[in-house]
């Protein structure tokens, strides 16, 4: 049974911070299909479109019928752990400092044998569930879990290496004035975060929900104005070494496309809050996050971007807003590559209209802030990189995959 994690002691400031190392992240182009699945927490393997053979390791020809049509498909992840070993000597520095490390051979019920990392509660001969996860290098690996959940299983050291679990981590929520920010503060406190810093611009100005927010356990409110470089830098100067998960909840939702807006005032505001706000956060907090990616139980783990799904395809009813969100998505992709050397994940959360005042006139379905917060916490616990929350987000994503041009026309009519 997994030993529960012990709350980390305050760090001795004289001790050297362990430099983040990464496992080898080189993969064949075909194997990146696993990475795409892992990013969303799916278990996908190649399935031959001609003979239905399930194929692993990733190939470019089916080993039964030589077909080249080998798309990645969701498949049954159950199997049996045939054999296990505890590696005590590794040629790789990343694993060397994490020895001993267990791996095993899992025979999947659907055919192939997969060499996988092993959860501590799984023993040889037992039934198992495989999951695809992103390791610190950002590439997919298979992890074998016990067939049924076990107590404290999320605290297993090999599992925690793959996730961004908020338990005993310190979280910064950048805007506590929003309903989503407040819902996240509550959800992360419940998920065991050791402290939840909540940024509020001009904290002396009261705001709806403030009283409730202040009552949440381990919440600390602090001054943070994302439109003000000095404010962001001051906040980072004081708190950055104590932030393990940063969640940018800044939002600026206004209706209208590009033409109706007179002048650039609203567009500038949008960019100021969203794109430049993100840039300020990245510049102020990014270097410290990246340096602390292997800093023990409460290592830096994730940078979370909340993004409208219309970052992926413009919705002209909220056209200028969509454009700003697209800018933020593009920046997040860069950020992902820039934080990877530290083993810090960038989680992009896509959602449609929210149950908030700024989407008042939009027809349902809409996403409740509390539901969004729950999903974000789950994604962190699972170590995901891309998350789609709600029916609208799933729908946009599915239509985009089928025919991006059709989606463009449909959103514009």
């Amino acid at each position: 049974m997994t030993e529960p994690l012990i709350r980390p002691k305050r760090k001795n400031p004289l001790k050297k911070t362990r430099v983040p190392l990464l496992p080898q992240g080189v993969r064949s182009r075909t194997a990146l299909g696993l990475t795409a699945a892992a990013a969303e927490g799916r278990f996908q393997l190649q399935v031959c479109a001609d003979c239905s053979m399930v194929v692993y390791p990733p190939r470019d020809a089916c080993q039964r019928c030589l077909s080249a049509r080998l798309p990645f498909r969701d498949v049954d992840n159950r199997g049996t752990l045939l054999a296990e070993t505890t590696i005590r000597t590794s040629t790789d520095v990343y694993f060397r400092e994490r020895m001993p490390w267990r791996i095993g051979t899992v025979a999947l019920d659907i055919g192939p044998s997969i060499v996988a990392h092993l959860h501590g509660d799984l023993q040889e001969g037992q039934r198992t569930r495989l999951q695809l996860k992103l390791d610190k290098s950002g590439q997919a690996i298979a992890m074998a879990l016990p067939a049924k959940d076990t107590p404290n299983m999320q605290d297993d050291p090999q599992w925690r290496e793959l996730t961004c679990d908020p338990k005993f981590r310190r979280v910064l929520i950048t805007d506590g004035r929003t309903a989503v920010g407040q819902a996240l503060a509550e959800a992360l406190s419940e998920a065991g975060a050791s402290v939840v810093f909540v940024g509020v611009a001009d904290p002396w100005k009261p705001f709806p929900g403030e009283e409730k927010l202040r009552k949440i356990g381990r919440v600390e409110i602090m001054a943070l104005d994302l439109t003000d470089t000095i404010s962001v830098n001051e906040c980072a100067g004081e708190f950055a070494p104590r932030v393990d998960i940063l969640i940018n909840t800044a939002e600026h939702v206004r209706t209208g496309g590009i033409i109706e807006r007179k002048g650039l005032t609203v567009a500038r505001e949008e960019l100021e809050v969203r794109y430049f706000g993100l840039t300020r956060l990245a510049q102020a907090f990014g270097p410290v996050l990246r340096a602390r990616g292997a800093d023990g139980v409460n290592s830096a783990a994730a940078f979370v971007n909340l993004l409208s799904v219309y970052a992926l395809a413009n919705w002209p009813a909220y056209g200028a807003f969509s454009a700003t969100e697209a800018a933020c998505l593009s920046a997040a992709q860069s950020l992902r590559a820039e934080l990877r050397p530290g083993g810090v994940k960038v989680l992009n959360v896509f959602f449609g209209p929210l149950e908030t005042e700024w989407y008042q006139a939009v027809q349902p379905p809409k996403v409740a802030p509390a539901a969004l917060a729950r999903e974000v916490v789950r994604a962190l616990q699972q170590g995901l990189e891309d998350l789609f929350v709600g029916d609208v987000a799933e729908d946009i994503r599915a239509r985009l995959a089928v025919n991006p041009k059709a989606l463009e026309r449909e959103l514009g009519s």
Partner: protein, 389 residues
């Protein structure tokens, strides 16, 4: 169509260039030394060598063709055999057909690799596409971890114990103590074997080979060529190879030998009882045990009992890996796939430089190699007989 016999194929001039743990020299240097020694031993000149077969992991970016210019050879038959532990047997098989058909008269088969600090790690991480995609990111334990899984499964199914594997390793060390080129010079007891540190359970220190630099080579020619030079040679009786056998096995417990073993002995006209010594491919002792089964010395799953009921030293009831094998001599990259074959030729030509097998007339050598994902893919074997010329 039945496989044509290997009549009239002789193997001579067995060469081992003494191994070193690390080498500042290149693979080309090691290969060059081995080829030179074969030529000298056979009383030939470079110009007489009209066939060359090369095996090496570290000769890159060159392949066999680059070596022709590097070594000043002008062969009319050229082969590159990148098959690791199976490369010796496979090189011999192909060279045998070349000399039988007259495509070449004298084929030098050579394997050589260097070992520089960190070259082993770099080779592991890029060994194969499957290793890169689906093995190396899993703890980077290298072959130790992969064979630990195979060993663990075999132990569970067939009741093999660490003591059984230890008996194989200890006997090989006894042989190695008499073999001047072995890197391991100290005696090994079963107690020391059992108490060695774990590397990747159930693999412990003395189950592992030591990567090193070295080269091995031999000469393949027709009987008449060998006789005209007055060479001491071994006659090829039969040889098999098989790749990616039993892909449906969820985890490896047998190798490709099992598919071809009947034809193997039939072709040689001998049975397993006639074999005087066996050189198995010993990257890990579990693979030796699998070979004892799959090469017909006992049934599947009877390997542990077979080991318990025999003495495995060169003077024992089942002389096995008589030079000490890779486990005690060292694993010089692809030369590890030649070590058993070169030792076989030495034993059969009365040229043993270590422990001789008394009255050895027929030897069996087996190869196994290339664990690109979860199992060794290549296997091969050859039966040879001493030729009293």
């Amino acid at each position: 169509m039945a496989r044509q016999p290997y009549d009239g194929v002789f193997v001579a001039a067995p060469v081992t260039v003494p191994y070193r743990r690390y080498s500042t020299n290149t693979a080309h240097w090691w290969v060059g030394r081995a080829v030179r020694e074969v030529i000298q031993k056979a009383g030939l000149k470079s110009a007489d060598i009209d066939g060359l077969s090369l095996s090496s992991f570290t000769v890159g970016p060159d392949t066999a063709i680059g070596l022709t210019q590097h070594l000043g050879l002008s062969p009319r038959w050229l082969d590159h055999v990148p098959l690791g532990g199976a490369s010796g047997v496979v090189a011999l098989r192909r060279a045998a057909r070349a000399v039988q058909c007259g495509d070449a008269e004298f084929v030098v088969c050579v394997a050589g690799d260097t070992n520089q600090v960190d070259s082993f790690r770099r080779m592991l991480s890029t060994f194969s596409r499957f290793a890169q995609d689906a093995v190396y990111p899993y703890g980077s334990g290298g072959p130790n971890a992969s064979f630990a899984l195979i060993t663990r499964n075999y132990m569970k199914h067939y009741g093999a114990t660490r003591e059984d594997f230890g008996k194989i390793c200890v006997a090989q060390r006894d042989n190695a103590l008499k073999f001047p080129h072995a890197l391991m010079k100290k005696p090994l007891t079963l107690d020391e074997y059992m108490s060695a540190r774990a590397i990747s359970d159930p693999i412990h220190l003395f189950d592992c080979v030591m990567p090193c630099a070295g080269a091995e080579a031999f000469l393949v020619c027709r009987e008449d060529s060998a006789r005209s030079l007055g060479l001491k040679a071994a006659r090829l009786l039969a040889t098999i190879e098989r790749h990616n056998a039993f892909p449906q096995d969820p985890i490896q417990y047998r190798g490709g030998w099992a598919l071809d073993i009947a034809e193997f002995y039939a072709m040689a006209g001998v049975g397993s009882d006639d074999v005087d010594f066996v050189q198995t491919y010993d990257d890990y002792p579990v693979i030796c045990m699998m070979q004892m089964e799959d090469l017909g010395f006992c049934g599947k799953g009877e390997g542990p009992d077979f080991v318990r009921s025999h003495t495995l030293t060169a003077d024992g009831s089942f002389p096995h890996n008589t030079s000490g094998g890779q486990l005690s001599v060292g694993q010089a990259g692809a030369a590890g796939g030649f070590l058993g074959l070169v030792e076989t030729v030495r034993q059969l030509t009365g040229a043993a430089i270590g422990a001789p097998v008394p009255d050895a007339e027929i030897g069996l050598v087996s190869g196994f190699g290339m664990i690109t994902y979860d199992r060794g893919l290549a296997s091969g074997a050859a039966l040879l007989a001493g030729e009293r010329t």
